[in-house]
C-alpha cells in the first residue's frame, strides 16, 4: 500500500496534503476521520501507532486530532489530522471500529475535553475520583501548576454478577516492591472471567510540564518517564528534536547510542528472565542468580554513564561525552559474560517440567487480538506480528547494521520468555559488531532549535516508543512521548480471562509494563 493509492482512493475526503521528511500529512474533516482510518486499518492493514490531540485555539479556534499510521514498507509515517471547532468539541469516534484507539480517545477526552461521539466506553481514564469535572490539563489556558479542588466524581469499574461469582480487588498498593495500579478480577472459582485495570495512579503531568520548555531543559523529564527505559526514551526524544532541527548526528555518536540502548535491553531482559522465571513461578534459584547477574550490568552502567540506569549520555545532537575504546571493550566483555552465565541459568529453568507447566499455554495472546489492540514490541512479536522499529523505521545506526526480526508462534508466556533469550543473543552480536567497527570522530553536533513537527521512534526493550514533538518559537509546543506500555496494558483484558488467578502475576511479569511510563 503506497501513498499514491491512498490519496487516489480518498480523493474526495482529503482536504490538504504535505510531505516533510518521513511524515506524510493529510488533512480530513472531523466526520471523515473515522471513515478513512477504518479503511486504512481494516482493508490495508496499516498499524495505527498513535492518536493524540493538540490545542490550536489561539491560531484558528480549533482542537486538532491527529492519527499516526506506520507505513512500514516505505519507512514513513502517515499523519491524518482533523480540526475540531472549540465551540463544539466533538468528532466521530474511531473506537467504534478500531479497538486500538480505545484508550487514546478516553485520554484525549480527559486531557483536552474533546469528545469522541459513539465511543462505547466513555468513562474517565487519567482522572481519578479526586479531579473535578471539566478539568482538561492539556488545554493551553490550563496552568501547569494549578491547584485543583478535591472532588469526588464517580469512576465505576466493570462488574459481573451471578451465582458463585466473586470480585477480587487488587492494589493500588501491591505486596511486592512494584509500582501502583489497581486490578479488578471477576472470578468463578479460580478462573478469571473478566479482568480490568485502573491505572494512572502515578500520573505526574509530564506532557504539561514539557510544554514551554527548551529542548535541553525538557531532557531530564523525558529520561524520567520510566526509570528502566531512560536511554530509549531519551533517544526517541532526541531523534525527534534532531529531525526538526535538521541536525546531522555524527556517525560515532549514532553507533554509541545504539550500543547504549542495546545494553539497556540486555539489562532489562536479564531482569525479566529472572523475574518471570524466579518470582513468577516461585523458582527462587532462577531469581537469585538472575538478579545477581543483572547487578553486573547495572554496575557496568555505573562505569559507563556514572549512574546505574544508562541515562545521561544521550543528548540532542549526539552524545554528552565520549566512551573510550577501553570502556567499549569492557561493555563487550561484561555483557557477554553476563549472558554466558544467565544462559546457563535459563537452561536449568527450561529443563524443569514444573517450570514449563507454568509457562506454557499461560496468558495466550492470539495474533488477531494483538493486531486489534495495537500491541507493540516483544509481546506482539511473540504473537507473530513482525514489527520492530529497528527494521521498520531505522534509527541510530540500525540502517547500516540491520537486524532480523525474531518472532515466536506459541503466543504464550513461554514464547515471551524464550524471545527474551533470543533478543539478548541478537543484541550481543550487534554490540560486538558495533564495537569492532566503531567510527572515529566527533560525538556531538550543535543542535539549533527550529520550528516544526517530527516523530521519534525507538524500539526500547519493552517495545515501540513513539515521541510526537512539535516545537514552536524555539520551545516545546506539544510533546507526547508514548510509552509502549500504553498500547499493551489493555491486552490483559484478553490474556487474563480463562487463566487462574495465580497465573496473573506471571502474565503480568511476562510483559513487565511500566506504570509510570503509561501514566505519564
Amino acid at each position: 500500500m503506497n501513498i499514491q493509492e491512498i490519496t487516489k482512493k480518498f480523493d474526495k475526503e482529503i482536504l490538504a496534503m504535505s510531505e516533510e521528511r518521513d511524515v506524510i500529512s493529510l488533512k480530513v474533516s472531523r466526520d471523515d476521520l473515522a471513515k478513512v482510518s477504518t479503511v486504512l486499518v481494516n482493508e490495508h492493514k496499516l498499524p495505527l501507532s498513535l492518536l493524540f490531540g493538540t490545542d490550536n485555539r489561539k491560531e484558528n479556534g480549533t482542537f486538532g486530532v491527529h492519527v499516526i499510521f506506520s507505513l512500514d514498507a516505505q519507512k514513513k509515517w502517515l499523519k491524518i489530522s482533523a480540526e475540531v471547532p472549540s465551540g463544539d468539541p466533538q468528532y466521530l469516534s474511531l473506537t467504534a471500529t478500531i479497538m486500538a484507539t480505545h484508550w487514546y480517545e478516553r485520554y484525549l477526552r480527559d486531557m483536552f475535553g474533546v469528545t469522541p461521539t459513539g465511543h462505547p466506553d466513555l468513562r474517565r481514564l487519567v482522572h481519578h475520583e479526586n479531579i473535578p469535572e471539566n478539568t482538561h490539563p492539556l488545554q493551553k489556558d490550563f496552568q501547569w501548576n494549578a491547584k485543583l479542588e478535591k472532588a469526588n466524581v464517580e469512576y465505576p469499574m466493570h462488574h459481573v454478577s451471578g451465582e458463585g461469582i466473586f470480585e477480587i480487588p487488587v492494589g493500588p498498593i501491591h505486596a511486592g516492591i512494584i509500582e501502583p495500579g489497581h486490578f479488578r478480577f471477576n472470578v468463578a472459582g479460580e478462573r478469571i472471567l473478566t479482568l480490568e485495570g485502573k491505572l494512572f495512579f502515578t500520573h505526574k503531568g509530564v506532557e504539561k510540564l514539557l510544554e514551554g520548555k527548551t529542548v535541553n531543559d525538557a531532557l531530564p523529564f523525558v529520561e524520567r518517564i520510566s526509570g528502566d527505559a531512560s536511554a530509549a526514551h531519551a533517544l526517541a526524544y532526541c531523534e525527534a528534536v534532531e529531525k526538526i532541527c535538521g541536525c546531522a548526528v555524527p556517525k560515532r555518536a549514532q553507533m554509541l547510542r545504539a550500543i547504549l540502548t542495546e545494553c539497556e535491553r540486555i539489562t532489562m531482559h536479564i531482569h525479566d528472565l529472572a523475574n518471570i522465571g524466579g518470582m513468577g513461578t516461585g523458582y527462587s534459584f532462577i531469581a537469585a542468580n538472575g538478579f545477581r547477574i543483572k547487578e553486573q550490568m547495572m554496575r557496568l552502567s555505573q562505569d559507563v554513564c556514572g549512574n546505574r540506569f544508562w541515562r545521561g549520555l544521550i543528548v540532542p545532537g549526539g552524545m554528552k561525552k565520549d566512551i573510550s575504546q577501553e570502556t567499549l571493550e569492557k561493555i563487550q566483555k561484561v555483557a557477554n559474560s553476563a549472558w554466558k552465565e544467565m544462559d546457563r541459568i535459563v537452561a536449568i529453568a527450561l529443563d524443569s517440567e514444573g517450570f514449563l507447566d507454568r509457562l506454557q499455554y499461560t496468558g495466550e495472546l492470539p495474533t488477531e487480538s494483538a493486531q486489534a489492540f495495537g500491541a507493540v514490541g516483544l509481546p506482539a512479536r511473540a504473537s507473530m506480528i513482525e514489527r520492530d522499529v529497528r527494521k521498520d523505521h531505522p534509527y541510530a545506526s540500525f540502517a547500516e547494521f540491520p537486524i532480523e526480526i525474531i518472532t515466536k508462534k506459541s503466543h504464550d508466556v513461554f514464547a515471551r520468555y524464550r524471545m527474551r533469550a533470543k533478543e539478548i543473543e541478537q543484541s550481543l552480536i550487534l554490540i560486538d559488531t558495533l564495537v569492532s567497527k566503531i567510527a572515529k570522530g566527533d560525538i556531538c553536533e550543535k543542535c539549533i532549535a527550529r520550528d516544526g513537527f517530527a516523530l521519534g521512534a525507538v524500539e526500547s526493550w519493552r517495545g515501540e516508543i513513539l515521541c510526537a514533538l512539535e516545537i514552536k518559537n524555539g520551545v516545546i509546543e506539544r510533546c507526547y512521548p508514548r510509552d509502549p506500555s500504553f498500547c499493551n496494558w489493555a491486552l490483559f483484558g484478553i490474556m487474563g480471562p480463562g487463566n487462574i488467578v495465580p497465573d496473573f502475576p506471571l502474565i503480568n511479569k511476562s510483559l513487565n509494563l511500566s506504570y509510570s511510563g503509561n501514566d505519564l
Binding site: 491547584k147 504539561k208 526509570g227 528502566d228 538478579f291 543483572k294
Partner: protein, 180 residues
C-alpha cells in the same frame, strides 16, 4: 541398569556442591559492608535481637527507586543478613519507605498505608521525589513530598539513591531513633 547408574552417580559421581571459592567472587562494597554491620548492631539492641521490617510504598515514582530497592535483596547487597527485610503488608512494618513525588491519585493510598502501620513507624522518604517532589514539584498532578501527607522522619536524597545510600539512610534513621 538405570538403578546402578543412579547409585553410581550418587556415591561415586561428581560432587554437586560448589567449591567454597566460588561463593566469594562477588566484589563487595566496603562502605556497604561497614554500614550493614552497624545497622545489624543497632537493630539487635533496639529490637532485642529481632529484625526490622520495611514496607515500601510507591507514591508516584518513576520506578527507578523500585529497581534500587529490589537490588537491595540481590546477592551483592543481601540486606536480610543485617536483619532487614521487606514485608508485604504495612501491618507487619516497623518502617515505611516512600518513593516518588506523591501524586494526587495516590495521596489517599499513601495515607491509608501509613494508618495501617502499627505505631511507632519510622517513615523514610527515599529519593528526591519523595523529599520535596523533585523535578515534578508544583505540577497540577502532584501533591508534593511525602511530608505533605504523612510525617517523615528521615530523608535519603538521590535520583534515585544507590543501594549503599539507602542502607546508610536506614542507619541514620535508627541512630536518630536511639537518641529519642
Amino acid at each position: 541398569m538405570k538403578t546402578f547408574g543412579l547409585i553410581n552417580a550418587l556415591f561415586f559421581g561428581k560432587k554437586v556442591t560448589e567449591k567454597k571459592d566460588n561463593f566469594f567472587d562477588l566484589e563487595s562494597d566496603e562502605l556497604f559492608e561497614k554500614t550493614g554491620k552497624e545497622v545489624k548492631a543497632i537493630i539487635k539492641k533496639l529490637y532485642g535481637g529481632r529484625s526490622l521490617r520495611i514496607r515500601a510504598v510507591d507514591a508516584g515514582s518513576t520506578n527507578a527507586e523500585e529497581i534500587e530497592l529490589t537490588a537491595l535483596g540481590n546477592a551483592y547487597y543481601d540486606i536480610d543478613r543485617f536483619g532487614l527485610s521487606f514485608v508485604a503488608s504495612p501491618r507487619h512494618a516497623d518502617m515505611l519507605f516512600v518513593t516518588g513525588p506523591v501524586t494526587r491519585n495516590l495521596e489517599r493510598a499513601l495515607l491509608t498505608t501509613y494508618e495501617a502501620a502499627p505505631n511507632p513507624c519510622i517513615v523514610v522518604a527515599v529519593g528526591d521525589g519523595a523529599i520535596d517532589g523533585g523535578i515534578w514539584r508544583d505540577s497540577y498532578a502532584v501533591v508534593g513530598g511525602a511530608d505533605k501527607v504523612i510525617p517523615v522522619h528521615i530523608r535519603i536524597p538521590g535520583d534515585p539513591p544507590t543501594p549503599t545510600e539507602i542502607l546508610h539512610g536506614v542507619l541514620n534513621a535508627l541512630k536518630s531513633h536511639k537518641v529519642k
